[in-house]
């Protein structure tokens, strides 16, 4: 069953700028974990923001984003807000800044509950305690009473994840959720994320530039480049046999372990000498981008 259907979505920020998203189409099924891979500036975050309805107001958007059958692009803010945090949630890249510095994290989290569920402060607080415990925030009461700056990066990201899964959403968009964390913490947070996604049975749009992370997390992957989806398919298939030159480059540069001693490290441009070439190549490929829909 299709949960999220992005169809022919384009976003630009003013007439004089290159479109940030260029006729993007993408499907996410219920429970599916789709990785979205691309370099910085490729439009990953814009896509996430477009789905969440959080584009800046100078953004110009065409196309449709259907979530559970409703077109989000035409949804008024109030109705959309009831959806956000309830069915559709997001985990951000920067745990350092994603939380209100002037409010205790327990209160911020319980707000998420009370915004969408009719319940008392005590009930919300109990729920927060439950989820905090689940995501490994310990001791719960102390952490809930802490301000964000008093927590470590990993703890903060756990809070953000807790807030994201609080209301059993059907789709969680993760925008580079572990990039800002150090390697050790990364692994545990990722494991936690998977666990929580499984528990609430949520689909996930997982945005990353890290192919390893994507391959461990996701069933399928879409590659975005220059605002376009250039390749889509199962994770193994795309990573083992990339078809688009950009994907080939991405895969090669990620696999530096395959480079022999004395050999020059590959760079993306080896696979597409200029960005114009990439553009040209991607345009040669059929539009919308090659899609292998297995399910």
């Amino acid at each position: 069953m299709t949960l999220l259907a992005i169809d022919d979505l384009s976003v630009d920020f003013g007439r004089h700028h290159r479109p940030a998203l260029d006729h993007v189409s993408l499907l996410v099924d219920a429970g599916q974990r789709l990785g979205l891979v691309g370099a910085s500036g490729s439009g990953k975050t814009v896509l996430a923001s477009a789905v969440m309805g959080l584009l800046p107001d100078n953004a110009h958007l065409t196309g449709t984003v259907r979530f559970q059958g409703r077109d989000l692009t035409r949804l008024p803010d109030a109705a959309f807000s009831r959806l956000r945090g309830q069915d559709l949630t997001m985990v951000f890249q920067e745990p350092m800044t994603a939380l209100d510095p002037t409010m205790k994290v327990g209160r911020q989290a319980s707000e998420v509950r009370r915004l969408h569920t009719r319940c008392s402060a005590a009930q919300a607080r109990a729920k927060v305690d439950e989820i905090f415990t689940r995501v490994g925030l310990d001791p719960v009461s102390q952490i809930a009473d802490a301000y964000p700056h008093e927590l470590s990066g990993g703890q903060r990201q756990r809070v953000v994840i807790a807030m994201a899964v609080m209301n059993n959403p059907s789709l969680v968009i993760c925008d580079e959720p572990t990039t800002a964390l150090d390697a050790m913490v990364q692994a545990t947070v990722l494991a936690l994320l998977v666990e929580e996604l499984d528990r609430v049975d949520a689909a996930c749009l997982f945005i990353s530039h890290d192919l390893d992370v994507v391959s461990s997390m996701c069933d399928d992957v879409a590659v975005i480049h220059g605002g376009r989806i250039v390749e889509t398919g199962g994770v193994d298939e795309v990573l083992d046999r990339p078809r688009h030159p950009y994907t080939q480059g991405l895969v090669a540069t990620a696999r530096i372990d395959a480079v022999g001693p004395g050999q020059r490290l590959p760079v993306i441009d080896d696979f597409s000498s200029t960005s114009d070439l990439v553009q040209a190549a991607s345009e040669q490929c059929d539009t919308p981008a090659p899609t292998r829909q297995d399910r």
């Binding site: 807000s81 997001m90 951000f92 800044t97 994603a98 209100d100 915004l115 008093e150 953000v160």
Partner: protein, 319 residues
Amino acid sequence: MPLLRAAARRLAIFIGTVVVASIVIFLIVQALPGDVAQTTLGMGATADAVAALRERWGLDQPLAVRYGQWLVGMLHGDFGSSYITGASVVSQMAPRLAVTGWLVGFSVPLSLLVAWPLGLVAAMFRRRWPGAVVNALSHIGLAIPVFFVGTVATIIFAVNLGWFPANGYVTLGTSVSRWASHLVLPVASIVVVQACFLARYVRAGFIDVLTEDYYRTARAVGWTRWRGLVRHGTRNMATSLVTVVGVQIASLLVGAILVEQVFVLPGLGTMLIQAVQARDLVVVQDVVMLLVFAVLLLNFVIDMVYMAIDPRLARGGRG
């Protein structure tokens, strides 16, 4: 406890600054040319009479002694006596302070109350016409001198419509209703200008919030644009606004003098001008010291408030 130690350190600095300020003020005021004895005696002063009066008022003592007396007196709550009337300065200052206090006390919260929604709208709609309108209005309001606003308000609401008295002051003790009606126009005049000023800071503060990740988070968990901004923006915006409001109160304490002049209110500013004209240096010194002390105290309080509002600052303190 680091918070306590930071507070203690600031308190020490505050006290030191106040003492230095008192020396500076004393020297400035003593350096003013003119002589209270002569000024008081007026056109008919003779040299003997002036000398006698100077001696009676202790003006013939050395500077350091007079400074010491003044400082010690102030610590005991004795601000000295007016040369001219002999009345204690504290008893003269208290009613004046009350007038200025009411002016500032009403106009600052009211300005904030007006500025907050204006700034919110201006930030949210900064690219559309409501934002442009609020922005233009605040620019214009800020460009009109407050005494001009006051004069025009007097003509419209006192002279033509007769809703409020044109000027003057009635103490709270005399009649609450007349006290209030005498304050409406002066407070409103200040609010018009101050609200425009503050609205711009509120707007800037909210725009900053709009770019913050935590605002995006708030939206992502289901806050609507407005409620998210109000809920998570106000407190964060307030941290940048506290300084501005502090500066506002400080400048109003003295700046109220313009409004006091327009509306013939017996506030501190009017008292200062009269004392300077009469060369009643004890009064000048005390009023200036009071005003400076108020501002320094305000700075100190702002620092403390900062620590309270923004828990991150408890450790480092404000730059």
